[in-house]
Amino acid sequence: MNRILKTTESLCYKYRYILLAAFIGLIVAVPFLPISRVIMRLLIMIALYSMLGMGLNVLTGYVGLVSLGHAGFYGIGAYVCALLQVRLGVDFWIALLVSGLFTALIGFLSGLPSLRLSGSYLSIVTLGFCEIVQMILKQWESVTNGNYGIRNIPKPVFFGMELNLQNGGFLVVALVLALLTGLGCLALKKSNTGRAFLAIRDDELAAGMMGIKTSRYKILAFVISAFITGLAGGFYSELNGYIEPTNFVFNISILILSVVIVGGLGTVRGMIFGAVVLQLFPEVFRFLNEWRFVVYGLLLVLMMRFRPQGVLGWQSTQPYHISKRTKELLKETVTTKGGIGG
């Protein structure tokens, strides 16, 4: 088994640029491929939930702060994007960006209590956050239209062409967003910010003792996580053309969490896998209907019991990849001196 993992991983790494190019090629080809409406929707949802998973992953997988309230960020992003378009006639692309930024701001504010809290306490506060967002969405009728939600959200327009389900435009946007998010997360992980996140997760005290300003980084994680989730929300508001508060209830937070847990905490590949599983699942097991949610809960329990790292969350079998530049620098130092230090 280990052998298979090792080979797969090394192949994926070796041909990573080719794989990337292939994926981009696929995205470009979408409008020309004969994809049925049902499959189109499914793929969009998978891409969307991959993105949502990646967003939550930054906070929960990288830093280890379990959020049970991400549906709140999702909802805020969706409503901001929808309202900007419907009430103020703002162009979709700008509305999308603004919704991401606004949600990031909310992420910043909701990250502040996290500084004093840890573990379960934090999670409960996130739960409370989700409930508060629900309340605001339902109550602030003058703005959000309360329980009726917001309708007739216009479709995005790209160089004069409307993007929708039929012409594959939605799928392209979803895939592009997911791709950019994935690349961003991978870049994040292999940088000092990513290392700071992981260090805080593994041992917050030691991280602080190594000079990492843990408060700053925890807030940053909230901001990034909220930004990604907000963008996803903005996109979601376009999907059906209408949104309402019940689209963003606690159950959705758990769904997003399940994507992360089942797929593989802390890994980008896990998010995609988790999204696939959790979107295919209700299709395949349609007869389960209401019992679906019971199964989600069961999945969480079983994963924690038998495979807490998630299905694709194994520890990497690959060596740490250093850049060519690093190798050259190392060659230089070897020829100069020995002893401690570089």
Binding site: L117, G119, I124, V125, G128, W291, F293, G297
Partner: protein, 295 residues
């Protein structure tokens, strides 16, 4: 003025019920340093069990007794099946957290499945067992009196158990230092099971009380109340019994006052607002102890 006193009375009564649930949190947290998210769902489960037995034409009181015992056993089972294996593996906090979230999700959604109970509200037998009491201009319902009295009795009983019995001593010892307690001959596994049973039983009683107070139950009643009770536990200082009582009263009274003067939709989020306030101002709660980091 009447409205104000009504709100206060309501608040006190509700507060005691919250305190009862909060105590369940505190007990488990004290022993395992774990917030049991499933606690709220056991509260709902208990209420539904009473509903179920009553619908089989069993009288109210025996129904409650059976439901309480079953709920206690369920809580115990949850620990044994899902949490104990994690303890054995020395799992991280995240695992425990997500496990209890998963369990609460399972229980809550099983209750709401059409085949089982369905997601609409169900009518619960009333606690209004005798006539209202009049004090001047103020009307106090019998359900309020019963809820208050029962909650107080139970809290006193729980305090007695924890502070005055041998098993309570074992509980406190396990809470302070599990290894030492083991070495002193305490059967730690039994104590943990007992603590869960106690927590589950008290949650079920609280469920019956609040169900009877509002005369309606729904599968999601657990999650909301769980948050409020957790807020109560934290406000008072998690891990302390009397803190839970004070916290419960604070939450209960604020909630009712908010509902009265700010509108009924502010009622539920009020608990979170207070929770966040306390966590920002005094994270250890009103009576909690400072934790010092050991390096």
């Amino acid at each position: 003025m009447n409205a104000f006193i009504d709100a206060i009375i309501n608040g006190l009564v509700l507060g005691m019920a919250y305190a009862l649930i909060a105590v369940g949190y505190s007990l488990v947290f004290g022993i395992l340093r774990l917030i049991n998210f499933a606690h709220g769902s056991i509260y709902a489960f208990g209420a539904y069990m009473v509903y179920f037995f009553v619908s089989l034409n069993i009288r109210l009181f025996p129904s409650i007794v059976i439901a309480v015992i079953i709920s206690g056993l369920l809580a115990l089972l949850i620990d044994k099946v899902t949490l104990e294996p994690l303890r054995k593996k020395n799992s991280q906090l995240i695992s425990n957290l997500i496990t209890t979230v998963g369990v609460s999700f399972i229980i809550q959604n099983i209750l709401s499945v059409e085949y089982v109970f369905g997601s609409e509200k169900k009518v619960f037998p009333s606690l209004n067992l005798f006539k209202n009491v009049q004090i001047g201009n103020i009307t106090i319902q019998s359900s309020q009196i019963i809820l208050l009295v029962v909650a107080v009795i139970l809290l006193v009983v729980m305090s007695l158990i924890v502070y005055k019995t041998k098993i309570g001593l074992a509980m406190r010892a396990t809470e302070q230092n599990t290894k030492a307690a083991k070495l002193m001959g305490v059967n730690v596994n039994f104590i943990i099971s007992f603590t869960f049973f106690l927590g589950g039983a008290s949650a079920a009683i609280a469920g019956s009380l609040i169900g009877g107070y509002y005369q309606v139950i729904s599968p999601t009643m657990g999650s909301l109340i769980a948050l409020k009770a957790f807020a109560a536990a934290v406000v008072g200082g998690i891990g302390t019994l009397y803190g839970s009582v004070v916290g419960g009263l604070v939450i209960g009274v604020s909630e009712c006052l908010a509902a009265q003067y700010l509108g009924s939709n502010i009622r539920d989020p009020m608990a979170f607002v207070i929770l966040i306030l306390i966590l920002v101002i005094k994270p250890n709660g009103l009576f909690g102890k400072e934790q010092i980091a050991k390096v």
